[in-house]
Point group: C2
Chain length 249, copies 2
């Protein structure tokens, strides 16, 4: 029996990424976070702070993948509309929750909990909270969707609280073979043949060009260590036959 | 008459981004590239090297936005399937083109044009080439879709060739107001009121937290310089009223 793959998608919500002002680093953090769980990230979408966009994207992704991780739009300002959009996507109500207020009282006095701050305690019905040890406004989990802050250090802290909630799959191991002076066109054919021979491994080729220098990194990925070793050896031998000096990392 | 906004999406194609091995920087490069053209980037999608995913995403994006920029998957190896997927998405044939070969002869001798390398000269019928002064394998434009390499320095060079082909819209100007010790909850209400007063401007709030320190950057964006100035002044005055010392950048 083939084990079903566990899959995930990321939904990055934020005009600041689309305008180019901010380089999104959260997706890469989540991608690397998911690796040791054996969860396969299948798609990333970045959209703006628009309710209908969030609802449409979230519904497309949450029905298709085992997990969805959203980042951004859960602060106290007028453009923070993620929680409401998630509630609408799931067709549930949203309201201020006592457990969310309790969490925020770690940072704020009760009289600092203004109307704006209380927006951060609004949680869709049925969701469980995700801890935020940085600024204490919670994220939340709604079924298979994890709703996190966009501020990178808050998001990373939230992942710690999410980790024990995730089911785990077969971990993918990746090894990189580096070779200077490798031209992809010279190895494309033999590499394709090796890839055909090992259909459960994936073989990626990533060239680089700097001035007159060039080379490539070949990445072999799979979840069977023995098979991976065999595939890597074939690639290394093939590169040596072409007179190259590959390094494995 | 309201001028129609010119819109764009990016489709990043590559398993290496989803695995976390590579941090995508191309999206941010394209986002910043589009700003001076007044083209509004509306969505970014990252997907793996799977033909049906590429076709489905490309068809979703190209019918919805004025322009689509794809990166990745146009090299000579077995996992480079973007050109074929684009041809299928448009329902056209694909074949080796003489003008693409001519471009590649800037780098390769004719006898180096192996079967694998000739894959890079396969261009969907009806597409025009995009120059690649780095490694000389072309990208291409198929109607409103620009197909570029994933290697960052090649992609940047391809944008230079694409620039004169783009129609231009109203340029969005953005100004950032920085303030230490700003807590979003304190300004959320007045900022929301200012945002309501200037419906054609966008007001974003981006907090940060470092140890015990905190603050936020407020970004005001719009295409009318006078209105932008007025909106910024109101934000600055509001921050001063709260005892903060804002800096404009």
């Amino acid at each position: 029996m083939v084990e079903a793959e566990i899959t995930a998608a990321i939904l990055v919500i934020g005009d600041e990424i689309l305008s180019g002002r901010t380089q999104d680093s959260n997706s890469n953090t989540i991608a690397n976070f998911l690796q040791p769980f054996g969860i396969a990230l299948k798609e990333i979408r970045v959209i703006g702070d628009k309710e209908h966009e969030i609802i449409a994207s979230l519904n497309a992704l949450r029905t298709r993948y085992d997990y969805v991780f959203t980042t951004g739009g859960i602060g106290p300002t007028h453009d923070d509309i993620t929680a409401d959009a998630v509630a609408k996507a799931f067709g549930v109500n949203i309201g201020i929750r006592d457990d969310a207020i309790d969490m925020m009282l770690n940072r704020y006095n009760r009289d600092e909990l203004t109307e704006a701050r209380l927006r951060m305690a609004r949680i869709p019905d049925g969701a469980s909270l995700v801890k935020n040890p940085v600024s204490f406004a919670p994220g939340f989990q709604m079924e298979n969707v994890f709703v996190m802050a966009g501020v990178p250090n808050i998001m990373r802290a939230m992942l710690d609280d999410i980790a024990p909630r995730l089911k785990t799959g077969k971990v993918i191991i990746a090894k990189t073979i580096k070779a200077d002076n490798l031209r992809e066109g010279d190895i494309a054919k033999p590499l394709g043949e090796i890839a055909k021979k090992y259909p459960t491994l994936s073989f990626g080729s990533y060239p680089w060009f700097r001035g007159d220098g060039y080379g490539a990194q070949l990445v072999v990925r799979g979840n069977d260590e023995e098979l991976l070793e065999a595939g890597i050896n074939e690639v290394v031998e093939m590169l040596k036959t072409l007179g190259l000096s590959p390094n494995i990392e």
